[in-house]
Symmetry: C2
């Protein structure tokens, strides 16, 4: 990493994966949950059916903690390799998907316990140990009442900025989940959605990881359309949605498609009062990573087709295999747009982030 | 319809839905299949869980045959309302999805019989009665050996231009189906994919039709990526794929996404020898309908981002509710691009269409 000190502008990174080990969660769990992990080696069911892709699986090989612990498990190593080296102003922690309480199919009560334990562990070991790190409230969304209680319990922590919903096989716009949005809005928390490991091929998995990953934006579109057409943003007009880790290039066509469909089918959803593209502009943000390789001209065409330069936010996805470096991921886009993408769009999105705009030294 | 004689250029319409009634298929069926329809009123299982949308359900209200038969069931009415009035040079019949033999889950043998009956009915009543109409070979793709026999049987008919695969919940790139592509290539037949009624929401249906329809391109992306990453176009280098009825705006982002994924994951699919965007440019065509409402500038940006003006082809989707008129669907795009989209891209795609380029009278 020879990138140190090249950073010229504020960087707010909307997708950093800290990783817990089950052992670390034990002190935060009561029995019987503790015993299931300690005595029976319970682990969350895994979904991805693909063999390991590279030297470190889904992680960057060089991000493994030097003492052998998995990538993302150590704050000081992350500080050194990511935050200090790149010069982050702020980063949002999004968990490693294991555990992902909202993705658990069995026993909701254990999901609830794990969410609580995770949040306590996250606050104690990360949010209160580095000023730059902000957190995601993990919940067991399949049990909205418990999710609301957890949002009440930790949502007003000054470093908690969003409620995390995994993109799995539940469309979150369903009214069953609306109490979660009501609680999030009340606490000025964004809804952050990050894909877990959904079977995205008519409910099955395709043959190859490259196929699964190529159609990953599909699962994001399902969630955005679910939220919009179920009227979530009419019910909760201050709610914001961050769609994390599907890039942004799918957004322009999707805005056009939803608008065209809404024009001819809006009688079906009379509670939706505005054009979907307008709802996207006001309520939905997406992150760059994994960014498609684009020329400056192509990048700007996609932005123009959104009719807004405030939708796209930057993320690295550290420490995963397809990490995007802020120094290399994007073509030169001009000072104003780069400031928005690298920091200011995220700053507007998350009201708890520092309001100051960092002085550009260039 | 006051559109008559406004037509200034050749129009090749890649999506016209002729409709059969089960009664009409009876003479083309042997027993026991005939008896299942006649004696037990067998109909294909239906999938869409939504209430009827308008006066004529999924059809244009004014397209119902005046004697009460369903829209698309009568050649002379279609000639009058569509072909003569608009001035089609050619149109490709794609069936009405009922029956859709490749979408049937039960008893393959009946699907095979229905495909054969459908093709005979189509040839006799449509293809041989109007010079402008070209046909799709219906098959029972779930039984590739029978599908190959049916392609052998009718694929060399001079008016049969493609093999029809419904977009349902089977990803067609799977090697199990490759004999179909081998037979199609041998007969100079395009593979035409048209969505049937796939549960496109993690294998389920969303709450509303507007959601289902807004994410319809997802199922097309699944099929295109399945065909590309399973190496179909390397195995069958002359094969072409027409993706019908998901519009075209999803294509640029999807090309970029597949390219970016292929760059980092191509070790998984070493049989894929070229960038996916390059495969799309050479092998995949998409139809305009249901076209998103775009300004000329937006339309041209999407075309530019594909780096090819030969991918997009015109379709009306007659007689369905969201029919696109060639006089109103697209913004003005300039003579050269309009000629390509309205006719010449389709003419290149289907080698059996007349080669002459119609004189533009403007």
């Amino acid at each position: 990493m020879a990138e140190k000190k090249q950073q010229k502008r504020a960087i707010i990174d909307m997708d950093i994966h800290e990783r817990v080990t089950y052992d670390e969660l034990l002190p935060y769990l009561d029995n019987p949950w503790q015993r299931y992990i300690k005595d029976t080696n319970w682990v969350q069911e895994k979904h991805l059916p693909y063999p390991i892709l590279g030297a470190a699986g889904l992680d960057r090989a060089d991000a493994q903690v030097p003492d052998g612990r998995p990538a993302g498990n150590d704050l000081s190593f992350m500080q050194q390799q990511l935050l200090d080296d790149v010069g982050h102003e702020a980063g949002i922690l999004t968990g490693a998907g294991d555990p992902s309480p909202s993705s658990m199919n069995g026993w909701y009560e254990m999901a609830v316990a794990l969410a609580t334990a995770y949040n306590d562990w996250q606050i104690e070991n990360w949010l209160e140990k580095d000023d730059r790190l902000y957190g995601s409230v993990h919940i067991a969304a399949q049990d909205p009442a418990s999710a609301v209680r957890e949002i009440e319990r930790v949502g007003s922590h000054p470093k908690m900025v969003q409620v995390l919903l995994p993109i799995d096989d539940r469309p979150w716009g369903d009214p069953y989940y609306h109490p979660i949005f009501e609680a999030a809005e009340r606490h000025n928390l964004v809804i952050g959605m990050h894909h877990q490991e959904p079977p995205n091929y008519y409910g099955k998995f395709p043959r190859y990881f490259v196929e699964w990953h190529s159609v990953m934006p599909n699962t994001h579109m399902i969630q955005v359309s679910s939220m919009i057409f179920n009227g979530v943003f009419e019910k909760y007009p201050n709610l914001k949605l961050a769609m994390i880790e599907a890039g942004f290039t799918y957004i322009p066509a999707f805005m056009k498609k939803m608008d065209q469909q809404y024009k001819v089918l809006r009688h079906e959803v009379p509670w939706v009062k505005r054009m979907p593209s307008s709802i996207v502009k006001d309520h939905v943000r997406v992150t760059t990573q994994p960014v498609d390789e684009l020329t400056r001209d192509e990048f700007l065409k996609f932005i123009d087709l959104m009719d807004s330069d405030e939708i796209v936010c930057f993320s690295t996805d550290y420490p995963h295999w397809d990490y995007d470096s802020p120094f290399r991921a994007l073509p030169p886009l001009g000072e104003e747009l780069e400031q928005k993408i690298f920091a200011e769009n995220a700053r507007k999105l998350y009201p708890k982030l520092p309001a100051r705009e960092r002085k550009v030294t260039q």
